[in-house]
Symmetry: C2
Subunit: 217 residues, 2 copies
């Protein structure tokens, strides 16, 4: 275990590079041991640097947690949101969002599964800036799903009787359930099963003019 500060490719001020290394490790640790359980000493050990040296980058634990959330968000955008924007608007994009979300869980982009789902449940009863930011990011994520469903409706892919926000919520609930089962029961088939369930649900509310959506894996 424990690989000294990863030499993030140079090009920027030295401090910024270390900071990024710290945050990448923080996201990883937090996704496994929880964002609240994340400890400065533990993190410093992992990076083979001093507690005080690490601490100086953030000034307080809450700032470290907030910065960790931002880094997690960046990673999430990079691995899920942006690739999904490559899919054509409408239903295919909604499907791509679900599919890529499941893939990011399967491929353990975050070592502990899904950073934000875990953080949501950890902080939902802990008032403060961290909680607020997590809620904000999740709200945005649901909005993105909802907008995809709305586009699908405008494009005539989605039956007019269906509520886009409701559909977004339902598919994401299924995805979370798959993550839950996979991690808790060590059930490697769980995500594949919810992939089918989501696809089935989407097909049930799709019109005939909805383009065919291949299961990406």
């Amino acid at each position: 275990m424990s690989a000294a500060v990863k030499p993030v490719p140079p090009g920027r001020p030295r401090g910024a590079r270390t900071r990024e290394s710290i945050l990448r490790a923080a996201v990883d640790l937090a996704s496994m041991e929880g964002l609240a359980g994340l400890t400065i000493g533990r993190l410093a050990d992992e990076l083979e640097m001093s507690k005080s040296g690490l601490f100086a980058h953030f000034g307080s634990k809450e700032e470290l947690q907030l910065a960790t959330v931002e880094m997690a968000r960046t990673i999430f955008v990079e691995h899920v949101i942006n690739p999904a924007l490559a899919a054509p608007k409408g239903m295919p994009r909604l499907w791509a969002l679900c599919n890529l979300w499941l893939e990011h869980v399967e491929e353990r982009i975050f070592s502990g599964g899904c950073f934000f789902t875990a953080a949501s449940f950890e902080f939902d009863s802990r008032p403060g800036a961290v909680r607020d930011r997590i809620a904000q990011v999740m709200r945005k994520w649901l909005d993105i799903l909802t907008r995809a469903a709305q586009s699908a409706q405008e494009a005539g892919h989605l039956k007019a009787a269906i509520d886009p926000a409701g559909l977004a919520f339902e598919v994401y609930s299924l995805a979370m359930g798959g993550y839950w089962a996979k991690e808790l029961f060590h059930d490697s088939k769980a995500t594949a099963q919810v992939r089918s369930a989501i696809l089935e649900r989407i097909r049930a509310v799709a019109t005939k003019s909805c383009p065919r959506m291949p299961p990406r894996r």
Copy 2:
């Protein structure tokens, strides 16, 4: 805050009563601050008793956590499982299980929402006895839902093409999603909305001979 050891009705050895008081407080605290974040000193403060006196009841923190899980399970059985067994077998019972699960979240039977859902996500990457027990309890809960769906199929309430385990998983995922949204977004309508979503899903897979299921609230 902080009410001295609640005088759990007498009739049993003194120690057992204190132990129960401790565990009821522990479940409450853990459902808000997390089962891992649960602290002996904090818990002792809440109960206005000494750390050492409290500690003596369990011998180790892990034992305290395990005992807390058992207490949470007892409360869950009392408020969700047992009342649901009053519903007739088959689809009505599956619906009662979902409905009562949502009610136990709405009525904050656990101050922090749903003890087991939160604990699941908290411990899924933390090997050990606590994790194993949580997984066991959750497996059992899914089995109960699945058996209800099977009974529904045998009674002819559920279409033969539907996989009972899959249906059980889907409705519980929706329920968890409702809990997630309610707590994270402070959205008091969330559970009512998933109640409808679940009912709709159930109706979509029910046969014509399935008894009518009134929304319980």
